[in-house]
């Protein structure tokens, strides 16, 4: 089995850097960024909501790329990367949905609304939850990997269509970066950038840590399977 130790050794430094960046991000959120006039402190949810939503989608893109990589190279490492990214992406999308729902309650006086971005996030959550359930359900590791890779590809191909179809319904989501300046105060914009960068480091660390765990699990499984004492 291919050793991915050089890649996974980055997990520790990335986790430390991510932790430090998250501390710095707290300073930007609570001290540097001004309090929004209408929503008050509740608006600070945005600094968690937006990074997890963006990085969640990037995680799903990693699943897509790794799935294509697996279908081409049949490398177990690609499959492990895809499943690691799917787990982190699902966690982030859950957080994005929860924080978005809190925001919606305060801002729009509803817990949920049929908005393109909200709906796309929820549908992606369902698809990747199904992806992870599928990985647990199919017997035979080779078949499971192949089927998961195919689903990883078609799931992401579906994203633009899900978004378009949801968009034909009316949207009330704020267009954060739609206009110049994004409709945000410069201090808020800087804070958003810091939070996105910090979350990026945490995301990379989480994916690599999970990837390393799966890699070790695979190696243990190979040792177990090849040991004649266990094969009877």
């Amino acid at each position: 089995m291919k050793d991915n130790s050089s890649l996974t050794s980055l997990a520790g430094p990335l986790a430390l850097a991510g932790g430090a960046a998250m501390v710095l991000a707290q300073y930007f959120i609570w001290v540097y960024a001004p309090v929004e006039v209408t929503m008050g402190q509740v608006q600070k949810i945005f600094y968690l909501h937006l990074p997890v939503a963006w990085w969640g989608m990037i995680c799903f893109f990693i699943v897509f790329c790794a799935s294509i990589g697996f279908l081409i190279r049949k490398s177990p490492g690609m499959d492990q990367l895809a499943s690691s990214a799917a787990e982190v992406g699902l966690l982030y999308t859950t957080l994005a949905l929860a924080t978005g729902s809190l925001w919606a309650r305060i801002s729009w006086n509803t817990w949920w609304t049929w908005d393109p971005r909200l709906s796309t996030a929820l549908i992606m959550w369902f698809i990747y939850a199904g992806y992870l359930v599928l990985r647990q359900s199919i017997e035979g590791r080779r078949k499971m990997r192949m089927v998961a890779a195919v689903l990883g590809v078609v799931a992401f191909l579906n994203v633009p269509l899900v978004f378009m179809s949801a968009r034909i319904w009316r949207s009330i989501h704020p267009a954060v970066f739609a206009s110049e300046g994004g409709g945000l105060e410069p201090e808020m914009l800087t804070t958003v950038i810091v939070c996105v960068a910090a979350m990026g480091l945490v995301t990379a660390a989480l994916i690599l840590l999970r990837f390393r765990q799966k890699n070790l699990q695979e190696r243990l499984w190979s040792l177990y399977a090849s040991d004649s004492r266990f094969n009877g």
Binding site: I123, I127, G130, V133, I138, V147, A149, V150, L161, I168
Partner: protein
């Protein structure tokens, strides 16, 4: 000579109807859904056109799950699948054959669901029947493209019905939304100003998943 996908479709249809059961199970499930949802409004109140269209496509989706599980389980015994894999033809022909057979069975089920929607849900203002048929065929194409691709996925799995439902339904959202929206218009609700956009969404979905299925099906079906 019969083109091979058509021969495969004919073989599957003969197998489905060989024991006399045919598509009784998907049709019954769909009818039960229509009936149960008819209880969602107080007695004497009509179900809205959009709700009726949603119930129609929900019944169709559940029927599709059962149809493709039946179609792909027909090669489950006696290693018949190996015979199909060894046949001198591109493996994608199996996907096309199953999709065609699934499409035929789905249309047959919808022939029952449509009158059931009219009767149980009080939808008697259906306009432009040829357009209704066109809309159904367009959406069905998307459904069977995905159904035939992922139906192979759960082959040989003990909980394949539930597994397939969990995986397929979220993928079908764009085409189901389009079907519901277009259906709602043809049942006499809405202005139909978004009709062109919805047809565009369905055509894009169909093209995307047909292309993806032709590329990806060998990875699923060729694997044990």
């Amino acid at each position: 000579m019969t083109p091979r996908p058509l021969a495969l479709m004919a073989k599957d249809l003969r197998l489905v109807f060989a024991d006399g059961a045919g598509i009784v199970q998907p049709v019954l499930l769909g009818l039960i859904l229509v009936f149960v949802f008819s209880l969602s409004t107080p007695v004497g109140h009509d179900v809205s056109a959009q709700a009726a269209a949603a119930i129609f496509w929900l019944a169709t989706s559940f029927a599709m799950i059962l149809v493709f599980n039946t179609l792909y389980s027909s090669e489950g015994s006696n290693q018949s699948r190996i015979g199909l894999l060894l046949a001198p033809m591109p493996i994608q022909y199996i996907w096309i054959g199953k999709a065609l057979a699934g499409g035929v069975l789905l249309l047959m089920a919808q022939l029952v669901f449509l009158p059931a929607i009219v009767v149980f849900l009080g939808q008697d203002e259906v306009t432009a029947w040829p357009m209704v048929l066109g809309c159904i065929l367009l959406v069905d194409w998307g459904l069977v493209a995905v159904g035939s691709l992922l139906g192979a996925m759960s082959q040989g799995h003990s909980a394949r019905d539930s597994l397939l439902s969990v995986v397929i339904f979220p993928l079908l959202i764009p085409v189901l939304l389009a079907g519901i929206s277009m259906g709602s218009y043809f049942l006499g609700d809405g202005s139909g100003e978004d009709l062109g956009s919805w047809i565009g969404v369905v055509l894009a979905f169909n093209a995307l998943f047909t292309g993806a299925a032709l590329l990806l099906f060998p990875f699923i079906y060729g694997e044990y």
